[in-house]
């Protein structure tokens, strides 16, 4: 446990001494802020319109603002995950520091968990930025906080499983750019799987079930479904397991 924390702390530090973390925050703040602005503006306009028409428009902030906003963030997440994970193992392999880790009295699992947790912690920081936008809604309205919490839990789980996949991809190459691009491709693929969900054939059902984004939809609505939680947890486990195998195979091949 101590070893995991030591490794995690070192990894987090190296995020914050390089421009990666700050660049990520800035880009995310701008994009998430823009989406938030657009969604809120539309919502405000509609509620004004409905009042002028005298119709009782169902003015539910959770339904009309937060749900859409969280879904957007879930998609933005697909783009930031590769930036977070690309260096995790690729850089250690390139610079040879992987030899230091591998010859220290720590297990592979501890190394992997340390790195993955650090990546998850950075991802949480990114999510916190979006939480600022949501907090603004509490200043002017009375959204229900429980669905929001469920939504963020979903974002965390989705992030966790994409980060686990990214961590695995990072062990397969010495080149950060390749690791980043490949992870991005996988993330994108897991997203577009959802686009066939209108089909009713079995293959389409299977594909859309594999999509990470499809499993986020219930969370965005504030619904905590064990099916989706199990999906995310098993993908996290699969990603970390593949990472462990890949790290082990390095020793046999190198």
């Amino acid at each position: 446990m101590t070893n995991i924390l030591i490794l995690c702390k070192k990894e987090l530090k190296s995020y914050f001494v390089s421009p990666i973390a700050y660049g990520l925050f800035a880009v995310f703040a701008v994009i998430a802020g823009y989406f938030f602005y657009v969604i809120t503006a539309v919502f405000v306009q509609r509620s004004i319109e409905s009042q002028m028409m005298g119709r009782g428009f169902p003015m539910d902030v959770n339904e009309w603002v937060i749900r859409g906003f969280l879904s957007n963030i879930s998609v933005i997440g697909l783009f930031i995950v590769p930036m977070i994970t690309m260096r995790l193992f690729a850089e250690e392999k390139r610079s040879g520091t992987i030899e230091l880790l591998a010859t220290s009295p720590v297990t592979d699992i501890e190394i992997i968990l340390g790195k993955w947790l650090a990546a998850l912690a950075l991802y949480c920081c990114v999510l916190l930025i979006s939480a600022l936008n949501v907090a603004m809604l509490f200043l002017y309205g009375k959204p229900d906080w429980k669905p929001i919490l469920v939504g963020y839990l979903g974002l965390l789980l989705q992030g966790g499983c994409l980060l686990a996949i990214g961590t695995f991809v990072s062990t397969t190459t010495k080149n950060q750019i390749i690791a980043g691009t490949a992870t991005f491709a996988v993330c994108l693929l897991l997203w577009v799987f959802d686009w066939v969900s209108y089909e009713t054939a079995t293959w389409a059902k299977v594909m859309s079930y594999m999509s990470v984004v499809a499993h986020f939809e219930p969370f965005a609505k504030g619904v905590l479904d064990s099916k989706d939680v199990i999906y995310y947890l098993s993908v996290i486990f699969l990603g970390l397991f593949l990472t462990a195998r890949s790290l082990e195979s390095l020793r046999w091949r190198s």
């Binding site: 530090k13 009295p105 046999w252």
Partner: protein, 325 residues
């Protein structure tokens, strides 16, 4: 302290280390000598549990590298060929990280950092970014990293490679100072480096163990002697290997005759000659005059001398490179 038995490491297409065995006692400084690509790094990586052996076994302080890797890693300090440094960290920050990783309690860290910084002469660079350090300093930080947890065994892979002559002298001095408290294995392809720093030498070439000896014995053997493999049989009559050995020993210029094996009346010997003497013709004449059959007579594979030549060539090239730089 270190025991290697029948160790082999095969990659997909080639054999990096082929059935080597050696032992290193506590407190010894051993030089691991061989030309580039001889399998030095592979052997060291097996000892540090970075690579698993294909066959054979290796143990450090009684712990096997395969079954008890964590115990082995606790007792080993390792400096790979390129020091494993994080350029974005400060020196003291880096040493703290490595120290914690190697299991030093947090409270002891500052004391340990102070000690290794003094030993490795990096006290003035503690607050500098590793990425900004010169090559010599980086090497010393790498060495500090290897000794921070006071390991029983220190494994150094080409610790002086790529340094300038002054830095080389400093590093060798540093390694000598570390002797006594640690068992040290250092690899190099430079013969004089071994003569200056080590007590014992293990020579490997193309993955095979060529010689294990003390430095004095080895340099004596290396100074121009020739090793010849001889195979003899008694031409129909029974022949005792002692008789052959005595006869071979009487040939002028022969310094040592080693009996290798006897099979089906054939006797194998390795004959070493004195410095600067070629004894092959004399051996042939002597065997034939005794009425035996000379089945084989050849210079042994790559002799120590040839390796020695390769090694010294590498050293002089390195020195010339250093002067030009």
């Amino acid at each position: 302290m270190i025991k290697v038995e029948g160790l082999s490491k095969r990659y997909a297409r080639n054999v990096a280390v082929d059935n080597i065995s050696f032992e290193v006692g506590k407190g010894e400084i051993v030089g691991f000598l061989g030309p580039n690509g001889a399998g030095k790094t592979t052997t060291m990586r097996v000892l540090t549990c970075f690579l698993p052996p294909t066959s054979g076994s290796a143990s450090v302080a009684g712990f096997d590298v395969m079954s008890h890797p964590i115990e082995v890693k606790r007792r080993i300090g390792y400096l790979p060929e390129t020091p494993p440094l994080y350029p974005e960290m400060e020196v003291s920050e880096y040493l703290e990280f490595v120290g914690r990783l190697k299991g030093i309690p947090k409270a002891e860290i500052p004391k340990r950092i102070g000690e290794v910084a003094e030993k490795c002469a990096i006290g003035d660079a503690q607050k500098k970014l590793i990425g900004k350090l010169s090559k010599g300093y980086r090497q010393r930080v790498g060495l500090a990293q290897a000794i921070i947890h006071n390991p029983d065994v220190l494994i150094l892979d080409e610790p002086t490679a790529g340094l300038d002559p002054k830095q080389i002298i400093e590093t060798r001095q540093l390694i000598r100072n570390l002797a006594g408290s640690h068992t040290i294995i250092l690899s190099t392809h430079i013969l004089p480096e071994v003569e200056q720093t080590c007590e014992k030498v293990i020579i490997i070439n193309k993955g095979k163990l060529v010689a294990t000896d003390s430095v004095e014995n080895l340099t004596r053997r290396l100074r121009g002697s020739e090793t010849v493999a001889v195979e003899v049989d008694g031409a129909g009559s029974a022949l005792d290997n002692r008789t052959v050995q005595q006869r071979l020993e009487q040939i002028p210029g022969v310094s040592r005759v080693i009996h290798k094996e006897s099979k089906d009346g054939r006797h194998h010997f390795e004959v070493e000659s004195l410095q600067g003497r070629s004894v092959r013709a004399d051996i042939a004449r002597s065997v034939v005059e005794a009425g035996w059959n000379l089945l084989e007579l050849r210079a042994v594979g790559l002799s120590l001398e040839e390796i020695f030549l390769q090694l010294t060539a590498a050293e002089s090239a390195a020195q010339q490179g250093g002067k030009q730089a």
